[in-house]
Amino acid sequence: MANLKDIRTRINSVKTTRQVTSAMKMVSAAKFKKAHDDVAHITPFVEKLSNIIYDLVNSCMCAGGEVNTPYTKKRAPENILIVAIASNRGLCGAFNSNIVKKVETLLESDFASQYKNKSVDIITIGKQPQKVLKQRGFNIINDYNDFWDNPTFDAAAELAGSFMDAFSKNKYDRVIVVYNEFVNAVSQIVRAEQLLPLEMPVDNDVKHSFNYIYEPDVDSIINTIIPKALKILFYKMLLDSLASEHGARMTSMHKATDNATELLGDLELEYNKARQSAITKEILEIVSGAEALKS
């Protein structure tokens, strides 16, 4: 059995760790609240926007027209850009490693041939996935880790703008975003979504097609709404990832605190046992000493 002093030191170190994890849990809970509100606010907006795009595209198709923008052109996927969104910080469970795993699976399955030709570029938003992906020798061309210092719509729009620019100049034929979709505080879904070219929500049996009046005209509406929609979609992905991160950290820190408490109970039991046996030993020594003196 370990001696008393050793156990005491361990108890103290576990206590300190528990304090740290529970403080991190509190911090994450506060940040999570804000991130969750942001997601909740933007969700109806994105829904309405997709509805309008759906109506617009389908009534345009029904009228025999075509939707033509630089951001919806489908090309053979030769040059791929993967944007991996995760976190700058660790200690949030499998949050970051899930993203890395997903990127690896993408490169091994869907884009295996492009990967062999070295025509897959990766951009990371978050230091953690960047570190791991770099270690494994993937081609990371750029990072936007600073984004998390100040996650505003303008910054996201600028980023999305740069991807859209590269896409319309034929530098990339596909832009895939890998991120954690927010479901609730304890669960996130890893998603790989195609940002560009934008998939048109074409429905072949549209139940209601309206003969819309367009003001000023179809093309200019499509040309304003599509870039805006792309930027907002990308921003939503970032917000989702942020809320997921705080949720993941909150749960993993909660678990860590629980584990520390449990460990502390075990250690205290062990400590008391050791103390008891030390006392018993001392009494035995005294008694046997006294016996020896008597005889």
Partner: protein, 84 residues
């Protein structure tokens, strides 16, 4: 589904700022101000900087600032999306 009144929803990236039946809504279109009343023909319009003027069914007037956005209206359901 046919509504009897014109229902209006105004959404921004932060929240839904208006949701309810209205008597009329006036919006700043690319080619100038125009007004929607109930039973308006289906329309999709892009909006410019200006003010959205709403008169609710109860006669209460509301003004919203608009930096640009999209308006869609069909079957008495109008949706305005305001984005920067």
């Amino acid at each position: 589904m046919k509504n009897d009144d014109l229902y209006l929803e105004i959404v921004t990236p932060e929240k839904i700022i208006y949701n309810g039946p209205v008597r009329l809504v006036q919006v700043p279109g690319e080619n100038g101000l125009f007004t929607l009343l109930k039973n308006h023909a289906p329309i999709i319009a892009s909006l410019t900087k200006g003010e959205i003027h709403v008169i609710g069914l109860n006669g209460v007037e509301d003004l919203f600032k608009c930096d640009g956005g999209i308006l869609e209206c069909q079957e008495n359901q109008a949706t305005i999306i305001i984005s920067g």
